[in-house]
Subunit: 421 residues, 2 copies
């Protein structure tokens, strides 16, 4: 059995590096701003390296700064290790659980194994993936993506700090001594399996009164950016019928995308809308850009929603006066992923044992995770635990000590089940 | 008769101070960026002061830098002068006609009078109003507003450069020597009447094949800013029904305001929408703000549109998941204005004489102008001429030499008619 108090204390102790956005009086009532490879991220990495060495692990660092801690199994097999992975970086207004819990839980699993002199058959270990959030260097699941061969390493190295173009991901890896020698790939550091414990970041587990989500895969998503070209005009002197109003068109498009998503039981969301910085109250904007994030567990539905949005947008663009023109780009295409059945079974057995079949449920991840990339090269599955009100990417993100412990125990048992099978 | 060539040459010669945004090869194919009290605005002011002195005018400058050039009438009456006024400042991406034409036409009228040894009965002159655009110091029709007692002078003086909070309107008046001694008010420098020639900035004159718009008044308008408060949430993990999506609500509101305006034959326009700068593609925004500009020649209709928007927005806010909350502020309330019947008649007679009743039309100004404020303290009316495609506040703003000349001739004859009546 894992040690719930030790887990909780370790989790919050390491959050001293990067804590921010206090929202309450208790010591742990802050969010986090531990952006990839900032000084606090470097501190928690050095701490992590010390801790895993204390546990007798070997530590390897690859060319993207991904950290792999490895504990030998009893068979002395050369087979790749069974990894428990997640990330230690956070959003700029992030919380204390997203990613961090997955790494701290993995550490607690190894501590528990060592303490009870338990040895797996095969090597087991921990992966700390660099720049999962893509918040400072704008590419999410960045280094698991390089490892999986989905993102060219040069492109990842060249990513610029979002506020300082003089700083690249590579220059920060060098500054902190985390530009490792090992090739960042499934050949350079192969994994036998990848288990990731993560907070759900949504409201489904609590709504179903479940403690463990057995994640069978991740839904597909596409990110599009639309640019609507209109013509600036005076709001007081230009009759409605003479306007090419891109903001009016964009508004009708965003509303329509929501209607279309509802019809398909899918998600369509606009997070960003921008008018030029010289926009004014009494001028029709010349141009508007907005993002559209479409998701569904079936790729065919993602495509159907996209097609219906494009058709509808085209008809909206030609409404109202002389119409507007629009163009779009596909920024991210992340097809749906199905996780490995053996990994899923290992988690299922652990969940049945810990909370019983009534308190766990099969589910699909709404968000992308490092596991989406690892699944392309090794058997992978994820464990979700509830987080308060489904809130994540926010300072008040919270999971109870009990839920963190349940998830960590499930991680331990899933790895042991998999190792034994 | 005014001298069309001299008018055209003078207009474009003075646009050398502040020209910007070239869009064609011809010398005059640029827009303007002559922001209030920048170095170019100071240059054109000094040039203007020289020119009116050459015409034998006296020049007075008030505490807002408003410039009043005065040519004596034959009666030697102490009555306030009949002013021809407009402004020499432009938008940052403005054109060569908005405001500038009104002042250059007034100058051409005085030049024509002097050249033909024509003397009015009463004094006539020119007003160059400071900061009509409100583009650099954000308050439009700023100094005619102070003159009319509608804007406190301290508030106007304290306006900050929109890009540099260390620079105020007053400090720029001082830097250029345009902080005059005369009280800026209808007492400090009373006017007997105010005639303003301006480009229409809209498509109505060309659509009616008219050369002169006889402006009877200005429509009422209200500027509102709405803030929609939602809750940030992950776009991938948050079901639609669990969201408080302020951008979706704002989009539906903007679309609805357009539908409501159409129903009332009014205008409702959103020029600005903003999400927080840390918005991201995969996060529902926490908050959205947008502006709403409602206009109609009848104040009662402006109010009816506002009321219906507020009711509809309230019902939109409660749709979709758990709803969002919203608040709003009234930023500008500019009631409809009716201009003076005698001034209108003077313009009507001039128009009949110059282009005939078929080629002129009575109309209501869609936009606010300095004349809206002067009308509160002296008989006022405006003359509109067509501008190409109704385009204004844009570098390609254009009126033909012929149309500029027709408008200037109408200004001359209207002033003479008024003076004689
Ligand atoms: N977990 C997470 O936020 N991943 C980023 C990519 C996504 O939006 O799903
Ligand atoms: N002419 C002009 O643009 N005035 C500013 C106020 C308005 O929007 O009507």
């Amino acid at each position: 059995s894992i040690n719930s108090n030790r887990l909780w204390e370790t989790l919050h102790q390491t959050c001293e590096w990067g804590q921010a956005h206090r929202y309450g009086d208790n010591a742990t009532e802050t969010g986090m701003a531990r952006l990839t490879l900032n000084d606090d991220d470097a501190r928690v990495r050095r701490w992590f390296a010390e801790e895993v060495k204390k546990l007798g692990c070997t530590l390897s660092v690859d060319q993207m700064g991904n950290m792999f801690a490895r504990r030998a199994g009893s068979l002395n097999s050369p087979a790749p290790m069974i990894a428990m992975g997640s990330h230690l970086d956070t959003q700029p207004r992030g919380g204390r659980y997203d990613g961090i819990l997955g790494v701290m839980a993995a550490l607690e699993v190894l501590r528990t194994m060592k303490e009870s002199n338990f040895q797996t058959n095969y090597d087991v270990g921990i992966a700390n993936w660099t720049n999962e959030e893509g918040a400072r260097f704008p590419k999410s699941m960045c280094s698991s993506g390089v490892w999986a061969g989905a993102i060219p390493i040069q492109q990842a190295w060249d990513l610029r700090d979002i506020h300082n173009p003089n700083v690249s991901l590579k220059s920060e890896l060098e500054r902190h001594g985390y530009l490792g020698d090992i090739e960042c790939s499934a050949k350079g550091y192969p994994l036998g399996a990848h288990f990731e414990l993560h907070i759900e970041q949504g409201p489904i587990l609590p709504a179903n009164d479940c403690k463990i989500g057995i994640v069978q895969g991740a839904q597909g998503y596409r990110w599009l950016t639309f640019t609507i070209q209109g013509k600036d005009a005076h709001t007081g002197t230009t009759p409605l019928a003479n306007r090419h109003d891109p903001l009016l068109a964009a508004s009708r498009m965003i509303a329509a995308s929501n209607d279309i998503a509802k019809k398909h039981d899918a998600l369509a969301s606009t997070g960003i809308i921008r008018v030029p910085s010289n926009a004014s109250t009494n001028t029709i904007a010349s141009e508007v850009t907005f993002t559209l994030d479409i998701r569904h567990p079936e790729d065919s539905v993602v495509h159907a929603v996209q097609e219906e949005c494009l058709r509808t947008f085209q008809s909206i663009a030609s409404q109202d006066g002389k119409g507007v023109s629009y163009s779009w780009t596909l920024d991210t295409d992340s097809p749906a992923v199905k996780f490995d059945q053996n990994c899923i079974s290992s988690i299922q057995a652990a969940a049945d044992h810990i909370v019983g079949p009534e308190r766990s449920m099969l589910m699909t991840s709404g968000a992308g995770h490092d596991s989406v990339y690892t699944s392309k090269h090794c058997p992978t599955a994820m464990i979700f635990i509830p987080c308060k009100d489904g809130v994540s990417h926010h300072p008040t993100e919270y999971s109870t000590p009990e839920d963190c412990a349940i998830g960590t125990q499930a991680l331990l048992e899933a790895v042991v089940n998999y190792d034994q099978a």
